[in-house]
């Protein structure tokens, strides 16, 4: 990702500031308070400028990281064809997943369970690394889609098609897994983790509200395995990491995806923590974020 592609998103992130800062008028606390009061947070800070699809995608993610409800999709003309608007809509959900993952990691790092740090429980680590892999998988599809790169068997559609069919469910599934890890903290609308439930419900609405594409009508399952074997995918992300994404099981009638060995999950986890501590986004762009661990 070059600096031009990131410029819009970086400018938005700087304007919106650290989401975990309770004094930030654009932080999670303010966003949740506004949602509870049934109003929109003030200001033009949330506006996503018009432009080329890929920079707009990352700018949308910057807003979705705070609140998907605040990010209006750009007009179709700004992004080219209508299919690209769909790719932007689904790809923006990666921003909400980034924040949800960050909140979950933050929560586990501060919590002790059964006499040890919660973050050291292998099952919880595995759920985190799985959600991270889901995020990367969605971003690979979204990036290829907005770049209009052909990949996979041509007769079965494009990455944009795969994103439209699978992306919403992958993002939502990852959020659901994280909600299990959050436990009761996910379920409450006050406190430092209250943004989680807002991100989950707003993402759900954004991805599945009336008028969204209904890809289930497409008869053929997405040939995800073939698509992920394409060199265009490997150029973006290590396919081994993508193999750890639980969302892969959503491609057809099979509901269970074979998981790679522990070292892959450990690699994902180490990368996740590295980005968290370094204030970098979890997507392929690794953008610098104003978030503080």
């Amino acid at each position: 990702m070059n600096t031009t592609t990131a410029a819009l998103a970086d400018a938005l992130e700087q304007r919106l500031g650290d989401p975990f800062d309770p004094a930030n008028p654009y932080g999670f606390q303010a966003v949740v308070a506004a949602a509870e009061a049934g109003r929109r947070p003030d200001g033009d800070a949330w506006e996503v400028p018009d432009g080329d699809p890929e920079p707009v995608l990352h700018a949308l993610r910057a807003v979705h990281r705070r609140s998907p409800a605040l990010a209006a999709l750009p007009p179709a003309t700004a992004a080219g064809a209508g299919g690209l608007v769909e790719a932007l809509a689904v790809g923006a959900g990666v921003g909400a997943l980034d924040s949800a993952l960050r909140i979950t990691l933050r929560h586990l790092r501060a919590r002790r369970l059964y006499g040890a740090a919660a973050i050291d429980l292998p099952s919880l680590r595995s759920l985190l690394s799985g959600a991270f892999a889901d995020l990367l998988l969605c971003d690979v599809l979204a990036t290829l889609a907005v770049r209009e790169v052909a990949a996979g068997p041509a007769q079965h559609g494009t990455p944009a098609h795969a994103l439209a069919v699978l992306g919403p469910r992958i993002v939502q599934g990852a959020l659901d897994h994280l909600s299990v890890v959050m436990g009761s903290r996910f379920y409450i609308r006050v406190g430092e983790h209250a943004a989680f439930q807002l991100l989950l419900s707003e993402t759900q609405r954004a991805l599945f509200e009336a008028g969204r594409r209904t890809p289930e009508a497409d008869a053929a399952p997405v040939p995800l395995t073939e698509l992920l074997a394409d060199p265009a995918v490997a150029a973006l992300c290590d396919p081994q990491l993508l193999a750890a994404a639980p969302g892969r099981a959503l491609t057809g009638r099979v509901r269970r995806a074979a998981q790679p060995a522990g070292p892959v999950h450990e690699q994902l986890y180490v990368e996740l923590v590295d980005r968290y501590e370094g204030g970098r986004s979890f997507d392929l762009a690794r953008r610098a974020l104003p978030d503080r661990p």
Binding site: E36, R111, R112, L113, Y114, G115, A116, L121, P122, S123, L124, R125, S126, L127, P168, R169, Q172, G173, D176, S179, V180, V181, G183, S184, F186, Y187, I188, R189, V190, Q197, L200, S201, Q204, R205, L207, F208, E209, A210, G211, R212, R213, T214, E216, A217, A219, R253, V254, R255, R256, A258, Q259, G262, H265
Partner: protein, 640 residues
């Protein structure tokens, strides 16, 4: 599941579930306590559904929370399950709020001290609210980390100090079961249970903490309580000092099956909303005009398949919950396994069903104008709480994993409590009395439901072998009754694959080794698979008991559509191969679902229409009702 011979009396006169369902229907009119719009408005305003809870009190529901030996009407946990499921089908907030008394009182029944139990029974039948305060702000499900302490008071009794938080009904309750540390060293013997009567506390001895706004069940009283050296009388102690954790763990064996009941009701509700929506709207969300049924969303093949899969998923969950709750009576010593399976599987399954329905129908308007009172969105929010309280799926899977070695050994050795299993899987026989003393922290023998799977499959093989040669229905549909070869062979083929997967799973479970607090992540996948095997085995046992072979109490031939749907779903979720032709049974289940009148449900226990109860125009025995008496899966084979 079976169509029983007509009773001499109307079921509504004798069956508490029929009575309650009829009453609930009567109370759903405008301005009534269970009015849909009214309950939705209360939810929107985070307001407690007091009128609905009061109506349940007046209906006598609390009596079913108290064992008969302590003055109540509870002699069959299956009845409580169905009662709470009926309430959950209308509003989960009401069910969770009212049912909390049942959960809160269980430790006293477990302790089995007649005096306190009788006194508590009297209070509950007089509509006293009971809560159960286990969790604390910083420890969640980690009960051994609890910081609330109880110390012996100088003049007798106990001094209770500390804060319990995120507790359902604790502000409204008059009585609260509290887990407190009674030994500074903590540990499994370092905690005790107390039944705190707020009315007997000195002024200022406790403070109600503010209501916590929640994602779902928004009207519920989810709050906390702080004790300030509150003096409790000596008789507040439940059981003996140091027995608190043991009693609570055993109590969870009961309450976790109750959670399954609420989950099933919420799942019924969500599926009904989705099916009604799909039947009444075009693709894209426009309402159908009369006579346009062929253009319904539900007629689209992928929608029909998903609805069928959802129906099969909930039937699989029902089979799990039903066998689990009956096991409380007849496989009591195995509840450490069975309750964990039920609590892990049923809410997770229901969450997954709701999510898939949302993905399928949300873009067509299920989250918007197609659902005027936003009931589906509410059901989605509300139900997520069931997976959280009384131990999450992670906590329950952890409990299962700790018993893997025993479970695998029991399976390998074929340890089956045959009488207990037969009783647990025949819902038409009255259960034996529940004996709390038989509850055990660990199941020494493993799990009869799954260990009984090889026997069940062997029985199927015998039935197939006994079929006369060439006795086939000649239909590809195979939505047939069990007496036909095609249906039976299809069931057997699926069951053989299930057995093979179950065999392999137990070998993998037996090989799991881990150090304390270092359960490998892969073991959780095995636990999830075990739940699926349990669920499918439950379905098979239930079906076998209801087929009228002379060994069960069922009458007549029972359709196998529902069973094949359950087996197909379980095998699919296990990652086992399922042929396209076998998966078509899901479409037939969708047809069964869509054939139910609005407001009614597919269930293994009830005829379609049972929710509305006898006498209601939609009920099966009403003269104006359409002919929809067929049990689940009895749709006639289409003429070829």
């Amino acid at each position: 599941m079976t169509a029983a011979a007509p009773p001499a009396q109307s079921p509504a006169d004798t069956d508490p579930v029929a009575r309650l369902t009829r009453l609930l229907h009567e109370l759903t009119g405008p301005g009534q306590p269970f009015d849909t719009a009214g309950l939705a408005a209360l939810d929107e305003a985070d307001t407690f559904p007091a009128d609905a809870c009061r109506a349940l009190d007046e209906a006598g529901l609390p009596r079913y929370y108290v064992p008969v030996e302590h003055g109540g009407a509870l002699d069959d946990f299956g009845v409580v399950m169905r009662l709470l499921r009926a309430v959950s089908r209308i509003d989960l907030t009401v069910a969770a709020a009212h049912g909390k008394t049942y959960l809160g009182a269980v430790p006293t029944w477990i302790a089995d001290d007649a005096g306190p139990a009788r006194r508590l029974g009297r209070r509950i039948t007089a509509a006293e609210v009971v809560s159960c305060a286990l969790t604390e702000r910083h420890h969640g499900s980690d009960l051994l980390a609890g910081e609330v302490v109880a110390r012996p008071a100088p003049d007798g009794g106990w001094l209770l100090d500390g804060e319990k938080w995120l507790i359902n009904n604790v502000t409204r309750a008059g009585l609260v079961t509290v887990l407190a540390r009674t030994d500074d060293a903590g540990g499994p013997r370092g905690f005790s249970l107390f039944l705190v009567d707020k009315a007997r506390l000195a002024p200022g001895a406790h403070t109600a903490l503010p209501k916590v706004p929640t994602y779902g069940i928004r009207g519920a009283d989810i709050s906390g309580i702080a004790f300030h050296r509150a003096l409790l009388p000596a008789d507040a102690l439940i059981g003996a000092p140091g027995q608190g954790v043991e009693i609570i763990v055993k109590a969870l064996h009961i309450t976790r099956t109750c959670c399954a009941a609420m989950s099933l009701g919420a799942g019924d509700h969500a599926l009904r909303l989705a099916a009604d929506f799909a039947a009444a709207h075009r693709p894209g969300g426009a309402p159908l005009a009369p006579g346009e049924q062929d253009a319904a969303l539900a007629r689209q093949p992928h929608v029909r398949r998903e609805l069928g899969e959802a129906a099969a998923g909930l039937l699989l969950a029902e089979a799990t919950g039903l066998v689990a709750v009956r096991s409380l009576h007849s496989l009591t010593g195995e509840m450490s396994v069975i309750s964990a399976v039920a609590k892990a599987h049923v809410p997770a399954r229901t969450d997954a069903v709701i999510a898939r329905l949302l993905h399928l129908l949300g873009p067509h308007g299920l989250l918007g104008a197609g659902d005027p009172h936003a009931l589906f969105a509410k059901a989605e929010r509300d139900h997520r709480i069931i997976g959280i309280f009384d131990g999450s799926s992670l906590v329950n899977r952890n409990a299962l994993i700790e018993q893997f070695v025993r479970i695998a050994r029991g399976y390998r050795k074929g340890r089956v409590d045959a009488d207990g299993l037969a009783e647990a899987t025949d819902p038409h026989t009255p259960p034996r009395p529940f004996r709390p003393a038989s509850l055990s922290l660990l199941s020494t023998g493993g799990c009869s439901v799954v260990a009984g799977l090889p026997g069940a499959v062997a029985e199927l093989r015998e039935r197939v072998a006994a079929e006369p040669a060439g006795a086939t229905t000649g239909t590809s549909d195979t939505s047939s009754a069990s007496g036909t070869s095609d249906g039976l062979r299809s069931v057997l083929a699926l069951a053989e694959r299930l057995l093979d997967a179950t065999d392999r799973l137990h070998e993998a479970m037996a090989a799991v080794r881990f150090a304390p607090r270092a359960v490998p992540a892969e073991a959780f996948d095995l636990a999830e698979r075990y739940e699926l095997c349990f669920a499918a085995a439950s379905a098979l046992h239930l079906w076998l008991r209801g087929t009228g072979t002379g060994t069960g109490s069922g009458v007549g031939a029972v359709p196998d559509t529902w069973l094949r749907g359950c087996l197909v779903t379980a095998l699919t979720d296990l990652g086992e191969p399922v042929e396209d032709a076998e998966a078509e049974v899901l479409d037939h289940l969708a047809d069964d679902l869509l054939a139910c009148p609005p407001g009614t449900f597919l269930s293994l226990l009830e005829q379609p229409g049972a929710r509305n109860g006898p006498g209601h125009p939609d009920a099966p025995d009403h003269p104006d009702a359409p002919d929809h008496r067929a049990p689940v899966g009895s749709r006639k084979a289409e003429a070829s």
